[in-house]
């Protein structure tokens, strides 16, 4: 799991049975003490593999939306919740909620995009790299650093400063920081429910950077199923995604788009390996 704190933005991404939405009220409270007012909120997730294990308020998307609605101040009056389906991979639907105030609704524009990648059915040999050797005597930081190198994660963005951690007996998380841009990877390598995520932000003026980065990130895991959510204010960044994944033997099976307040366009694509 990861937390990013910018001067006027906070991003929290958590897995397992965490109760992420319970952070909203205390964060708004702490920000108010710094004379900062909430202007927009965005919540996204895929389909849980084990939905029945999720605690309140994550027991269903409906329950999450009710909780979000009740946690946000009234001035965030432009709100939308939607489940973006994948026709071929119903297990990979994308859930989006966004809300913003009037200023953000009228004047929102951004040159940045956010890409969220969810990968399942990882290559078994590659997933093994995210298991620790029993009794290795290493700290989580040291073991994490080793996994970053042997997996090739350090080559995704060689310019990034990487902060990594290996969990015991398995699992891995990293944050990459490169100027004002973050990237993050989380890995659950156990066979039967193996999962890895990759997320990064970029500028619409970056050219082919996204293609290179996505290729490198997905090659680390060689998953059988991939979903990619691309969020941009006004650009066809999503069109570059297939160009990155199809040379890796992944075929685009579905593509859904929708508009959200304070986010712009969210495009959700799913891919499966041609060998399957």
């Amino acid at each position: 799991s990861s937390l990013f704190v910018y001067p006027t933005k906070i991003i929290i991404k958590t897995c397992g049975t965490t109760q992420l939405l319970k952070s909203i009220r205390p964060l708004i409270h702490h920000a108010l003490n710094l004379n900062l007012t909430l202007v927009s909120c965005c919540y996204t997730r895929g389909n849980f593999i084990f939905p029945l294990s999720q605690p309140f308020p994550h027991t269903s998307f409906h329950e999450e939306v009710v909780y979000l609605e009740n946690s946000l101040p009234n001035h965030l009056c432009y709100r939308k919740a939607s489940v973006m389906p994948s026709n071929l991979l119903p297990s990979h639907a994308w859930h989006v909620f966004s809300a913003c105030d009037q200023t953000r609704f009228v004047h929102f524009s951004s040159d940045f995009y956010t890409v969220e990648v969810c990968m399942t059915e990882l290559d078994r040999n590659l997933a093994r790299k995210f298991f620790r050797r029993p009794g290795d005597g290493k700290s989580g930081d040291a073991a994490g650093k080793e996994m970053t190198e042997i997996s090739g994660i350090n080559k995704i963005n060689p310019n990034a400063l990487v902060c990594d951690f290996a969990f015991d007996p398995c699992g891995y998380s990293m944050n990459g920081i490169d100027g004002d841009r973050y990237s993050t990877i989380h890995v659950t390598p156990e066979d039967g429910y193996s999962y890895a995520s990759f997320e990064c932000i970029g500028s619409i003026y970056d050219g082919d950077d996204l293609v290179r980065t996505l290729k490198r990130a997905v090659q680390v895991f060689r998953p059988a199923k991939v979903s990619v959510s691309t969020t941009t204010a006004s650009n066809r960044v999503w069109a570059r995604v297939a160009g990155a994944l199809e040379p890796l033997g992944l075929k685009c099976r579905s593509c859904t788009a929708d508009e959200f307040p304070a986010l712009g366009s969210v495009v959700f694509q799913t891919f499966t390996a041609r060998r399957k």
């Binding site: 937390l3 006027t8 965490t18 702490h30 997730r45 920081i177 429910y193």
Partner: protein, 64 residues
């Protein structure tokens, strides 16, 4: 699929703020005391296991 296991799929929350106070314009939320962040993360049921930062932002790896 296994009957139960660790849930890999994440939940992601992004909050954006604005403020008029020039004193806070450079650092803003980065001025939050670490105790306050820990308190928030306690609600989520996470803790910080590793951290790094630069001129622009702070990044924390969390438990779970």
């Amino acid at each position: 699929m296994a009957l139960s296991g660790f849930e890999g799929f994440e939940k992601r929350l992004e909050l954006n703020f604005s403020g008029d106070d020039p004193i806070f314009s450079n650092m803003g939320l980065r001025q939050l005391p670490f105790d306050s962040l820990q308190q928030v993360l306690h609600e989520v049921q996470c803790t910080v296991v590793s951290a790094v930062g630069n001129h622009y932002f702070d990044a924390y790896v969390l438990s779970e």
